[in-house]
Symmetry: C2
Amino acid sequence: MKKSALQTARASYQPKLPEAIKNGVTIVEGKATQSVADQEAIAKLFPNTYGMPVLRFEAAAKKEYPAINVGVILSGGQAPGGHNVISGLFDGLKALNKESRLFGFLLGPGGLIEHKYMELTADIIDDYRNTGGFDIIGSGRTKLETKDQFDSGLEIIKELGIKAVVIIGGDDSNTNACVLAEYYKQIGAGVQVIGCPKTIDGDLKNEMIESSFGFDTACKVYSEVIGNIQRDCNSAKKYWHFIKLMGRSASHIALECALQTQPNICLISEEIEAKQMTLDDVVNYIAEIVAARAAKGNNFGTVLIPEGLIEFIPAMKRLIAELNDYLAANGSEFAMIKKSEQINYIIKHLSPENSAIYASLPEGVARQLTLDRDPHGNVQVSLIETEKLLGEMVGRRLAEMKAEGKFVGKFATQFHFFGYEGRCADPSNFDADYCYSLGYTAALLVGEGKTGYMSSVRNTTKPASEWIAGGVPVTMMMNMERRHGEMKPVIQKALVRLDGAPFKYFAAHRDEWAMNTCYVYPGPIQYFGPTEVCDQPTKTLMLEQNGTI
Amino acid sequence: MKKSALQTARASYQPKLPEAIKNGVTIVEGKATQSVADQEAIAKLFPNTYGMPVLRFEAAAKKEYPAINVGVILSGGQAPGGHNVISGLFDGLKALNKESRLFGFLLGPGGLIEHKYMELTADIIDDYRNTGGFDIIGSGRTKLETKDQFDSGLEIIKELGIKAVVIIGGDDSNTNACVLAEYYKQIGAGVQVIGCPKTIDGDLKNEMIESSFGFDTACKVYSEVIGNIQRDCNSAKKYWHFIKLMGRSASHIALECALQTQPNICLISEEIEAKQMTLDDVVNYIAEIVAARAAKGNNFGTVLIPEGLIEFIPAMKRLIAELNDYLAANGSEFAMIKKSEQINYIIKHLSPENSAIYASLPEGVARQLTLDRDPHGNVQVSLIETEKLLGEMVGRRLAEMKAEGKFVGKFATQFHFFGYEGRCADPSNFDADYCYSLGYTAALLVGEGKTGYMSSVRNTTKPASEWIAGGVPVTMMMNMERRHGEMKPVIQKALVRLDGAPFKYFAAHRDEWAMNTCYVYPGPIQYFGPTEVCDQPTKTLMLEQNGTI
């Protein structure tokens, strides 16, 4: 494997650990816990793993632990730092007992079910320290949900003498980890399951989980390129750049990038939903800012857009729901309609409200909403080029405003979508340290015989030595939600809170950022420089934990 | 202006200068020069600036220089390091004489013509040291070509007591700088003009100009995100990523990024033209590699595509030429055709060869080729989403191969286009030093009374102290080319040489990179770390100058 100069130099970085877990540990137990909602239902579904206390590790004399075999799984989309979770886990297990062994299941949960694995030895681990990506064992999206899967997994677990499985994933994967923990405990399999909070989207967080790993690095990569685009925008002074960012379910990424780069406009899906804004409202909001800047001679700007925006606009949600229902019932009739007649056909057959919205959409988007459907017959919202949709509709609105004398200027656009650029970046110092600590903590939880816990590292705006490591019962984060028509226990997703410090800071500054050009250019992630450049957590985390940036 | 932590830390970086120009200098003149081609015609067009010698600065006792007022212009697309050219120029002028002053013309050459300018004082300069972008005075694409423009410029030049104008731009802007130098000399205006070689495209280089500034940084930013995508690709193992990169006229960027990241496929426009490849040839080339990787179970990969590819495919060039001609002559008739009939209409009216190619194109591209035309009636090739065109056609070809049993696998695609992400990045140490040295050298050329020269800094694969600073007569790089139907003197563009070391290295390795997964992950540009991470020039430059990387 040929390595870049940075990879080679970075390989020797020793991630920082909380002081409390560097040597021996003892466990401090908190009080019994409750799930965040639907306590009765959750308690009933998790009789063996519900109500366990929050755990905190404190420094103590070194203990002896038996050798343990552990399996690890990377689940779902990539996030920077996954390799450091694994190297922290590996080092933690070896610190417990040199004879401990680590097995990696290949290409996600499917590897457990299909018995595909490799042993992760020291030389392999060393090749991946402080690197981005999940390529050490690959990842996958198979959901661990059924008894058959659990039983099949148990076969290979028994064969390899595995005592614990660590599942690195997002909210769904950690929910499933807990279901698996409950099942193995219930049948007395003697297998522990520990989760680790991963997702660049930043929507797996709560009182005990300050952030999911990868959010820090991914947002910094996006902010780097957004900053570069803003500098270009402010140099050429002739384009409006519409920049879509990852974040289907929550707008944390867009918000963090806005805090980092101070764009002219940033849309927050949660606010748009709360204010019951229509697509026209959103378009008008942007168009008004474009016109106001143009009036001052500034025919350029930047707009950040979260990927999931469309689904947060109540009227669009209703339109999509009716389209899904209508086409599910009348799909074969619709398939007979000539392509050139399809849009008119749909307009005629929708309810008046939805028909009007549909008719207002640019042709490309209207077509996309009726043609490209997933195997369940649903619109594939992720395929909608929201940034182009908004750019086109704002352009139309500005043409009307020009005719009314309300817009005097030019409006030319450029479009960008950033996703894959950030998910596998080399982890920032923060994520390198945080992930390594999460993995190391997971090893300690395994050593202490725990199951149904998520590895937790808190106090993360302080220096790493002061971080607090421990475990949080997964059931504590759960509530009941309707999924595919059934009520299911799931970890409550953390959306952007409109009363939270990050959004409030943004809301207090956005008008100034809109009218004036206040761009900040964060530049690329640095690993070797002064601490104020290399070791800062996200603005979101600083605001949430300390109320200030 | 709120600054990021990196901006603040980076502001104090002192760019390195060649040892020879740190104090006093003397000029060593080379022999009289000739233009690279068409000597007679160029000599005739530039009677006052033709044939001048190459200049080299050597260290000497410090001399006294009079105070000089200088104007500076940023011309054309942004490139990382422009601010350092200006700060080097400023510091160089102040070193000549503390009373020297620097004026920036605003938003490109237009600022000179329209008398829009600002004085660049020490506090302004300090705010922009080592930063990306051209926002200090803005840039623009107005071409300085006519006597009226020159004369209008001369008015403000006289008003401000300016003795020299430094034009920072690409091949066209430097050509125009030389035309301006010639004109001012011819009329005895007493105004010198000096050029600086800028363009991320890397196509302004020759024996005396080792690289244009910005190429280093931009390629490193693109390589960072390509590396991140490759790591994702190698983790999820389920997508082919088609990545388009800047480079209309030459493929240096794609080639450099390939050398940095070792993708599975990289297309080089110059090779495709030289081999007279058809679009089908290109599609087959990609499809064969996809199928061969799939046969080994690898349904993923990366393809780098230079922006200008389409225009280098001879058959596509002929199709576009016929379309331009046909629609110029029959535009009003074509405008009457129903949208659903347009493609068939075109197919019927083209020559058989072009008709067949046109019929083979995906509908979206076919439509784009007939509908979106620039004000001169030409196809806007830059709007063609070449990455999607190739992805779609490869998908079709693979479906045929599957039916023939020649492809057993899956083919899912993701598309990316990187341009604005790299043009305004903070300059790498290389570009920060190189640009500062170019600007400082320009000041010395001004001090020495030179005109019609381009600032030149060579020996750049060595430490900066050993760099060779001097001036190259712009006429030396010129030849005659047909532009808009007229023969014009222009700086010869440097295309990728198929017999050059960078391409040969790539060609020797690409088969291995195609079949095996040899991705390299360069990571983000570093400013503070070990020299092998922070101070390396491009692979292209290393191979060109030293024959090895």
